[in-house]
């Protein structure tokens, strides 16, 4: 049943048939292609979708399109189209009542109040914000629209709401604790910092003396401040190669793909306006990456095109001119198909191919060995769409292509990254304004030289042998390697682990196996903000101070090539210490003082040394940005050319050229698991963290699994019910939502779930946690050791 509705938006009248379930926001996005008026929280809390309807401000996500019939709709685009970036006019729509967003921690009538410019440290966008501090507490983060530094509309208000709430949260860890019951029983005793650090140091040094330093492993989460660098440095100085980081599924595969093709990574050029943006496995309206949201806005407003590749109809798929809906996990095959069309239809830049490539003829020969029908069969993408993608990408200049983390979580992520790099380079989109550009970082100490000290080689081959060479080069081991060393003592036993702001029980593939490994360890120490399912299994739990509670430098995400200062704004609660201080003090007790400092803050000056600035001076400057030189044909490869065929790779023992055999590979679908499981990150949270944050939890209270209505009907499932999802690794339950835009063969589940509100030691980590379903091998990306998180055979049934 549809209703004919006449919509008058900013003076443009359009008559259309709308279904009852379509909101005004749905129509503004999909039909009017408005991109400043955005989807944020979807429940009327964040203000991102605010419009005037007959003169009254309303949340367009809560208004039915049919109810807007014949009403006068005015959006922020009417006043801001063509303006660069986020502006006070937009803010006046979104937050007409600023003050209502200010946290009230029980102090009525604040005595002191200050407004301090800093950066939000929650998501990779790292927007410039003004922190509002009242009586020693951060009560709000207001967008900075004055300094000219990068600050975008935080659609879901994730940082603005999460940071004050976490800083003042009732569940923060406040004191060092040691386990007094059985592992995981939830019995703790408060201890002093001295006792905690002496215990850890004694255990680690005892293991070092008996089994060698490699029997101690480290687990690090996404870098926040310098804690990741400190963790790496501590592992290096201690002498263990066993450091698990998210590198295998975030950044390394495509970074290496670019490096072996043209010598360095390139990111979308935000300084200019692309005529086409390709968004491949990324929904940057919510999870910003190497491309800013405002670049999307200015591109659309300038009449540019969007191609989105995603199994889900994400926000950026709704805005797209071409939405490609591949089979989860088949991105490599899709890339191969697009490259085939570009080569066979001669859509590439002839000059570049003739003068600046190595191995083009071999590749031309190779692409003739598979057909587009095969590509269509593997990817489920109609041949016409593959051709349209290739033709649009090669003919529209400049074109930026952002390949998201989803494409880094495949069995062939590296070679897929290689194809994307080749596409960029031979279509002439590399190092041109509005294309993908290489950035020259400002002068600061490269994080790698901070954490990999020349005098202590990492000796990753001890644990990785001759496998996973890009993991070895990138200072990490894949999670399954650590788990295997713990469980099977292969190639040697790991007996103790230190985790820093990471939750392996929920974030590593195969949670059951991870659980067995953690239970088998002799000793676990973790520094955390909250008690998590992983922390609940530790021997020593250390309370960490968070951003804004100590002086900090941020260099992540690395691809932005910038460094930012995060001043200390408030005291940490009770006995919380910055992670950097924890590791610095631990290093002293481990006898590693020579590579650390009297005070961990001295490392801030070391990071800035190449700039000639001290941290105190830099704090005034706040940020150093990279430069972009748009150097055409600046290929930093051994041949000085675009290496479609790479001798370097051949020498390392890897396929020198991306091949269909590898790219077209998909997992077998056994009869008992007829569906394919995938997932997208939830906009309300950061990975597995912050389910405690009340204002985010109301946005997404339950883990939601999405199915096509026909699939639900076939298996007798009703919307709203909790259903079981099962793979060969395990089973979980999530709440069912139906979504007609999905392929009926696909299951989209929620990632990262546990329930901090549960009064039980494990916080329900088995119940809805996606990694219960993810096998941890033995099928790996040969270069990084990554496993696939996309397109896992699965079945669904009633819970």
């Amino acid at each position: 049943m549809t209703h004919t509705t006449r919509l008058n938006v900013n003076g443009n009248t359009r008559e259309m048939a709308v279904a009852p379930r379509q909101t005004l926001l749905d129509v503004l996005t999909e039909d009017f292609k408005l991109s400043r008026t955005k989807e944020g929280c979807g429940i009327g809390e964040c203000g991102a979708c605010t419009v005037y309807m007959d003169g009254k401000l309303v949340s367009s996500c809560l208004v039915l399109a049919m109810d807007a019939d014949r009403k006068d709709i005015v959006t922020m685009e009417k006043f801001t189209t063509g303006d660069a970036g986020f502006s006070p006019t937009m803010e006046s729509f979104i937050h007409p009542d600023q003050i209502a967003r200010r946290a009230n921690f029980g102090s009525v009538g604040a005595k002191t109040r200050s407004e301090i410019p800093t950066f939000c440290h929650l998501c990779p966008a790292h927007c410039s914000m003004n922190a509002i501090v009242e009586d020693g507490r951060v009560v709000d983060l207001e967008p900075d629209m004055e300094s000219g530094l990068y600050a975008e509309q935080c659609a879901v208000n994730k940082g603005r709401f999460t940071i004050p709430e976490v800083l003042g949260h009732k569940d923060r860890l406040l004191y060092p604790q040691k386990r007094v019951g059985a592992r995981g029983e939830g019995k703790w005793q408060r201890i002093s910092w001295d006792e905690a650090l002496d215990t850890v140091a004694a255990k680690f040094n005892e293991l070092k003396a008996t089994l060698g330093p490699e029997s101690v492993a480290f687990g690090l989460g996404e870098p926040k401040g310098l804690e990741f660098a400190f963790g790496q440095r501590l592992a290096t100085a201690f002498g263990t190669p066993g450091v698990v980081t998210p590198g295998w599924c975030c950044g390394i595969p495509k970074g290496m793909g670019a490096a072996f093709t043209y010598g360095a990574s390139a990111v979308c050029d935000d300084e200019s306006t692309p005529a086409l943006i390709v968004l491949w496995g990324v929904n940057m309206a919510h999870t910003t990456g190497g491309l800013r949201r405002e670049t999307l806005e200015k591109t659309l407003e300038a009449g540019g095109k969007i191609i989105t590749i995603d199994p889900q109809k994400t926000y950026v798929a709704k805005l797209a001119d071409l939405w490609i809906k591949p089979r989860p996990g088949s991105d490599g095959a899709l890339a191969a198909g697009v490259l085939k069309v570009i080569i066979e239809e001669k859509l590439y830049d002839r000059d570049i191919v003739d003068n600046w490539t190595v191995g083009f003829d071999k590749m031309r020969e190779h692409v003739s060995t598979f057909s587009l029908d095969e590509v269509e069969k593997v990817t489920w993408v109609p041949r016409a769409q593959i051709e349209e993608f290739a033709r649009t990408y090669s003919r529209t200049k400049p074109a930026a292509m952002h390949v998201g983390n989803a494409v880094e979580q495949l069995l062939n992520s590296f070679q897929t990254g290689r194809v994307a790099a080749i596409m960029r380079a031979i279509c002439g989109n590399l190092n041109i304004p509005g294309g993908d550009v290489m950035l020259t970082p400002p002068p600061f100490t490269r994080p790698g030289s901070f954490f990999l000290l020349n005098k202590y080689p990492r000796r990753a081959e001890k644990i990785l042998g001759d496998k996973f060479k890009f993991a070895q080069r990138s200072a990490f081991i894949p999670p399954h390697v650590m788990i295997k060393a713990i469980l099977d003592e292969d190639p040697y036993p790991i007996k103790a682990a230190m985790f820093v702001l990471t939750n392996p029980l929920v974030s590593y593939p195969n949670s059951n196996e991870t659980y067995r490994a953690l239970m088998k360890l002799d000793f676990i120490v973790i520094s955390e903000l909250f008690m998590t399912p992983t922390a609940a299994l530790a021997d020593i739990v250390l309370p960490a101070a968070w951003g804004m509670e100590h002086e900090e430098l941020g260099y992540w995400p690395g691809w932005h090539e910038e460094i930012r200062s995060y001043p200390k704004l408030v005291e940490p609660p009770a006995e919380c210490w910055p992670d950097t201080k924890i590791m610095n003090e631990l290093a002293k007790r481990l006898g590693l003082a020579v590579d650390f400092w009297e005070n961990d803050d001295e490392a801030l000056d070391l990071m800035l040394k190449p700039s000639g600035m001290s941290y105190e001076t830099f704090k005034e400057k706040r940020v150093m940005k990279p430069t972009r030189e748009y150097r055409l044909h600046d290929y930093r490869t051994p041949s000085g050319k675009i290496e479609i065929y790479s001798e370097q790779l051949a020498k390392l023992g890897y396929e020198p050229m991306p091949l269909w055999q590898e790219l077209g590979r998909t997992v077998d679908m056994p009869e008992e698991y007829p569906l394919l499981l995938t997932n997208g990150k939830e906009e309300a949270y950061m990975m597995t963290g912050f389910k405690h944050v009340a204002s985010m939890r109301i946005v997404r209270p339950d883990p939601i699994v999405e199915l096509h209505p026909d699939t639900a009907e076939k298996y007798g499932l009703q919307e709203g019910q909790w259903i079981f999802l099962e793979t060969r690794a395990g089973k979980i339950k999530q709440r069912l939502s139906l979504n007609r835009s999905l392929d009926p063969r696909v299951v989209v589940a929620a990632f990262g779930w546990w329930f901090p509100e549960r009064d039980e030691p494990g916080y329900g980590w088995r119940e809805s946690n996606l990694n219960m379903l993810v096998p941890s091998g033995p099928d790996y990306d040969p270069s990084t050791g990554g496993v696939t998180l996309r397109g896992i055979p699965c079945k669904v049934y009633r819970a």
Partner: protein, 296 residues
């Protein structure tokens, strides 16, 4: 990616009678739809999945605010929260309702949400419940069997549950004039002003000289339903205020009694023990402010 709305059909009506008959006819598959600010959230989160929405927004005469000296105040169920905030007569004679309207959500929500929806949703933290409880308002409900007037203190039954039966809807809220010279205050404690309350209190006081003649206290968000704190009221009723520091001790004691009457839960926003402390604080502050105004 945020969840869209689930699929449903929509039927609109412009009479109360038809709304009731449609609503009872469709049974458990139907929901009434007015502002949508609570309903659509539950639907997007797949916690409520009606197949049919009955749009009652176009029923005339339910979106109005009427006042006369004999009958008191009548607010139509479809009145937007913002209209309550903007109403001169409410601001003048029933200011506690303006106070509640001012702290409900954001302007975007106040322009959509309705008073009837705020009550029918029956959240323990419903912003209008404590003020309407101390004003001893009644809810006019229309159903297939006719009309009835439900006193506010009988309206809520449990979290998300009211006395409304299938096929029944709220048409109007009737608020009698407060007792002579009574003054009334609504205070809410929440993480942010726009958020749902962690605890809320309304206090009504009228003075006879220095004697507290009428005392009414209602609490929100600290029990399965909003409720009147009768023991605390009783403890203050008839008490003489000394005008010195003893009053503070007395009102703190009343706050403690009210806190004892509350039955809050632990959740992500706060521990139950913290909520009890907040109740004591809000009740004391609310009474102090109401008394200060009653003295003038």
């Amino acid at each position: 990616m945020q969840l869209g709305l689930p699929e449903f059909d929509m039927i609109a009506t412009d009479t109360v009678e038809e709304a009731c008959s449609l609503f009872s006819g469709y049974g458990a598959d139907a929901q009434l739809f007015a502002g949508g600010t609570d309903l659509f959230i539950k639907m997007k989160q797949r916690r409520l999945l009606p197949r049919m929405l009955i749009n009652i927004k176009r029923i005339p005469a339910l979106d109005r605010i009427l006042y006369d000296a004999d009958e008191g105040l009548r607010i139509g169920a479809l009145t937007a929260i913002q209209s309550i905030l903007d109403s001169a007569v409410i601001g003048e004679k029933f200011r506690v309702l303006s106070q509640a309207a001012a702290v409900l959500g954001t302007p975007q929500i106040r322009n959509l949400g309705t008073l009837g929806g705020n009550l029918a949703n029956a959240s323990p933290s419903a912003e209008f419940a404590p003020p309407l409880l101390v004003l001893e308002a009644s809810v006019r409900c229309a159903g297939p069997g006719g009309e009835r007037l439900v006193p506010m203190n009988e309206f809520f039954v449990g979290p998300g549950k009211s006395v409304l039966s299938r096929g029944e809807l709220i048409t109007e809220v009737h608020v009698p004039d407060p007792p002579l010279r009574a003054r009334c205050i609504y205070l809410k404690h929440s993480l942010r002003t726009m958020d749902v309350s962690m605890a809320a209190a309304a206090a009504l006081v009228s003075l006879d000289g220095n004697v507290c003649r009428e005392v009414r206290i209602a609490l929100g968000a600290v029990a399965p339903t909003p409720f009147r704190a009768r023991k605390a009221e009783e403890a203050l009723r008839g008490k003489r205020l000394s005008g010195d520091s003893n009053d503070r001790a007395l009102l703190e004691e009343i706050g403690r009694i009210a806190a004892d009457e509350s039955r809050p839960i632990d959740d992500l926003r706060g521990f139950a023990s913290y909520r009890k402390k907040v109740v004591a604080m809000l009740v004391r502050q609310g009474l102090e402010q109401a008394i200060a105004r009653a003295k003038n």
